[in-house]
Amino acid sequence: MRRAFWIAAALVAVGVPLLHPNSYVLDVIAKAYITAIAVYGLNVILGYTGLLNLGHAAFFAIGAYGVALLEKNAGWPFWPALLAGCLGSVVLGFFVGIISLRTRGNYFAIFTAAIGVMISIVLTNADKITGGNVGIVAIPPPPNIGPVSFADDIPKYYLVLAILVFAVAVCALVRNSLVGRTFVAIADNEDLARATGVDVPRTKLVAFMLSTFLAGLAGGVYAAYVGFLGPDQSGLDVTFQQLLFLVVGGIGTISGPLLGTLLLEGVSQWLQGVQQYRFIIFGPLLVVLVIFFPHGIAGGLARLQRRIAPRGPTPSARTANAPEAAAS
């Protein structure tokens, strides 16, 4: 079932540009993929490890500005710039993590929110470097690979898709590794994990850095894909939007970040005709989703699958939301 889901998803993702090569549609889907990469990062720290990082968008912005500045000002090619952007995000994540991970629960969320706001203010006010509110424009796209030009819609779409596949693969590998299990153990019961011998501070830091790596990766790809950048990408509202995608898709699942992002971005596009009223429809829709799918879409589908074909012992309500149990 899980394999069938991913095969179907891959076929649809690969087939879209061939069946419906519409620039606007491809652009919307590719941007949703980029957002999904960032949401996967949020899933690592919140879904797996149970830590709410409200400064997540700031790490996205660090990756984005890193790529934009290195490409435009230093003349770096895209790929080394992307690597450096990710590295910048991870290094900042390391230092923020060392301090913030000494706190727990709400305090961690507040601390990271404050860091996010601080980074956003710096990006806005350091206008000689970042362009301030105007931002950075004309960021070059990735260089051609042979005859393939990433200035064209379809190759650009496939490039973003490939990077999304990389991000999903990293998350799936980590989730099924011993390191991933220590993340889940910490989310379940931090004191018990500590008593079991897990090096909790180090493990949390690893999760935080992986999360910021994925945020930085998404940011770097976004900068080169869109071609312009402003400080609004680092705001708290962006983090909350990513959080919403994760909650709707299914926290802690492998498929949830992708499903939630695609669904909500799709609904958001669909409601663009009623631009100023769309949140009147969007809000209740979200409430209904949360009521009927409290474990997100991926968690809900997993429960449905178990009801249709019950196998083995009945999982508890908590395990129904388990990443490893989800149809992900």
């Binding site: 011993l178 889940v184 008593a195 079991t196 395990t319 939301n321």
Partner: protein
């Protein structure tokens, strides 16, 4: 050998949870800690596991382990099975057990052997390896909790109320397993409210009250002690 001298634990400004506790566990011994709720048994285990700050001296095999982090204490050979059958319910039974071997994770063969030993000790666990830990019965959860502590291949096992909330038949099975673990050479420090059962498998025991050791002696001596009989055995 575990040697604890003058161990004190205080939560905030309240009266101390442990007030100068002295105890020892010699190689090959099973030692029981008896005491009512709130007597300080769980605080003592948390302190020995590095989860609580304390004053006093804790030595294990001659080394000062009092200031070590929990992971380092597990690496030295002291593993705890906490009260309340605490598991990671989101993980399968096997993943719970393998997490217990986290400190020795590079020794894959040793981990597989430890898993095999746990499954031999608790045959019910072998059948449930792929099940979510949260879906097991109380007795099975306790087996997994003890098994997870054993996965660290400890020299000293700290067992906090392993019989709590279990059916009488399951209590006996659990204590038989603890006795078997001890016979295999692992030192055991067993906190129990079920004094009769605990003293039946222990070599020695301590009685804790209000954070202090008020009585100590061999298991047979304690079984005959009037205070123990009155307070814990109900005779």
């Amino acid at each position: 050998m575990l040697e604890v001298r003058g161990l004190r634990v205080r939560y905030g400004t309240s009266s101390p949870a442990l007030d100068g506790v002295d105890l020892t566990v010699a190689p090959g011994e099973c030692v029981t800690l008896l005491g009512a709720n709130g007597s300080g048994k769980s605080s003592l285990f948390s302190a020995l596991s590095g989860l609580l700050r304390f004053d006093g001296d804790v030595r294990f095999e001659g080394d000062d382990v009092g200031k070590l982090r929990p992971a380092a204490i597990v690496a030295r050979g002291i593993a705890q099975c906490p009260e309340g059958r605490k598991l990671f319910p989101e993980l399968s039974v096997e993943k719970n057990l393998r997490l217990g071997a986290y400190v020795g994770r590079r020794d894959r063969r040793g981990t597989d052997e430890a898993l095999e030993r746990v499954c031999t000790l608790f045959p019910d666990v072998r059948d449930k390896l792929r099940a979510p830990a949260g879906a097991l019965s109380g007795g099975q959860q306790q087996m997994v909790a003890i098994g997870r502590a054993l996965m660290a291949r400890p020299k000293l096992l700290l067992l906090d109320e392993p019989s709590l909330g279990l059916a009488p038949r399951m209590v006996q099975a659990m204590l038989d397993a603890v006795a078997a673990i001890n016979r295999a050479g692992t030192m055991v420090l067993l906190a129990e409210q079920n004094a009769y059962a605990a003293l039946s498998i222990a070599h020695r025991g301590y009685v804790l009250a209000n954070g202090k050791v008020v009585l100590e002696g061999s298991a047979s001596t304690l079984q005959q002690n009037e205070l123990v009989k009155k307070a814990f055995i109900g005779a």
